[in-house]
Symmetry: C2
């Protein structure tokens, strides 16, 4: 089976490296330079002190023809529209696409894609891109995937064949799967970014914990959670388990990059709007992050 | 007229330095060491490139007898209870006390003081304590004062005699005077601390400005402002005028010191509570600041 990986950030490099043991992988990069560097060096995967080299073919995204049997889209949600635009202009439609974006904002974009088997997934690995062709796998986890639309078989086939140290679990309900991850991301990512603290401090600092529970309460109300206490327990459990980690959004803010706040909080704010529910905390948290993003929101 | 100045932080040093041209001033310090250093060096006042030396007598606060005709209390609100406790044990009550704390949380403490003329004031000077006996006057402003209780004449006398380059304006209504300053402080101080930006960015960054207007809306509702638009205009005007300044609360957070958040937001939250009004944004903002204060709020 030929597999395409679109996007060569930390998650793209991580997936390409692991699955290239099993599949024939082509990774598609934003720049020609990165493709060149990957072709020259392979992908280096660092896990603790061990470095493994994988030989993976790399091409710039402009050369993507969608010919692989299975394609994993790893770009950020805010880069997704460019990829989707490109699909429309391919002479041959790709057969199977797996989308690994955070949040749920991308679902409405996927609605517009016709005649392709579409899958979505959530990634629980910790990964850090060290340079154009090196990724550090610093948090072992799993990938959850589920069908969004179309035929199931290729996803099942893919998930069964991946290496045992890079597990992919097939879930029944894509909506619940994405929503559960969204809740965690919507609480931990923005608050760690505003407070500029590691994940653990959200539950260790009693004042920050007050803010966490208030924000969670609003999210729970907007998403109409049936068992909010279970979700809150999950959020707290992840804060505890990843106590020493800096969230991806905090890293983005610190590195003066765009964040995924629109994909994460933007989606929940839209839900609030549809249901005509007030969301004062979510709004203030959203604007705090937007204000810290590089464009600085422009002048008044 | 003999004048006592209690507290030798930036405002205490600034006042002692300016008014010592006219009055016989004793400044009371928290530590014996600071009193020693001021007695050795005088108070150095830096204003742009010019440094002026004033000869001011300094004593540790434990030696305060309350014998001066007029005493200015410049300690932070959270240090005030110590001073008030000391008043109770003086053999002779001081005659006239002027309190220069931020916020309005100290008013209920002043209610308990009997038989003394009490005045309150707000300071609009920018001042930075450089060391134990040096203060930089980096923002020219004025001091507003008003009677809280008792006889007016000593305050009037004091305000008339101060040097022209250090004006003190007597206001009619202490409540309106403090409240107007409180509104400005309640918006600018916490938000600049959370966003970690200079005052100007609150109105230059459109997202931060959204948060500012939401927070202001809550404050306006809780304080039952008659003309909120005028207060909002004042807040924006100060952001613009002091665009390059870092607020005192931001400096406190950066220096890992306690902030005046209880004096400022605590008071408004109590008002909300009394009136049974919801204050979700004020609460989240309050906890954000509390969480950033040095004690870290302790474990859960």
């Amino acid at each position: 089976m030929k597999v395409g990986v679109i996007g060569a950030g930390s998650i793209g490099l991580l997936f390409a490296s692991y699955i290239s043991k099993i599949f024939e992988v082509t990774i598609y990069t934003r720049t020609e330079d990165q493709a060149y560097q990957i072709n020259e060096n392979g992908i280096l995967l660092r896990k603790k002190a061990i470095i493994k080299q994988s030989s993976v073919k790399a091409l710039p995204i402009s050369s993507w023809k969608g010919i692989e049997d299975f394609t994993i889209v790893t770009v950020k949600q805010y880069q997704l529209s460019t990829v989707l635009e490109q699909i429309k202009h391919l002479s041959k439609r790709p057969k199977n696409l797996l989308f690994l974006q955070n949040g749920m904002g991308h679902l409405k974009l996927l609605e517009e894609i016709k005649g392709i088997n579409l899958f979505v997934g959530t990634v629980e690995h910790g990964a850090l891109k060290e340079n154009a062709y090196t990724v550090s796998h610093n948090g072992e986890g799993a990938t959850n995937v589920a069908i969004f639309r179309g035929d199931f078989s290729c996803l099942q086939n893919f998930a069964t064949k991946v290496p045992a140290d890079f597990p992919i679990h097939v879930q029944e309900d894509y909506y619940l799967m994405l929503r559960n991850k969204l809740i965690v991301n919507a609480v931990i990512n923005p608050l760690t970014s505003i407070f500029q603290v590691k994940n653990g401090e959200l539950i260790q600092n009693k004042y920050f914990f007050r803010v966490l529970t208030s924000l969670f309460g609003e999210i729970s109300f907007i998403l109409n959670l049936d068992h909010p206490e279970e979700h809150l327990r999950q959020v707290m459990g992840i804060c505890k388990k990843t106590a020493e980690n800096r969230s991806s959004m905090l890293k983005d803010i610190e590195a003066n990059r765009l964040t995924e706040v629109d994909a994460i909080l933007g989606f929940i704010l839209e839900e609030a709007d549809k249901q005509e529910k007030q969301a004062p905390l979510l709004e203030i948290v959203y604007y705090c992050i937007k204000g810290k993003e590089p464009a600085k929101g422009g002048e008044l």
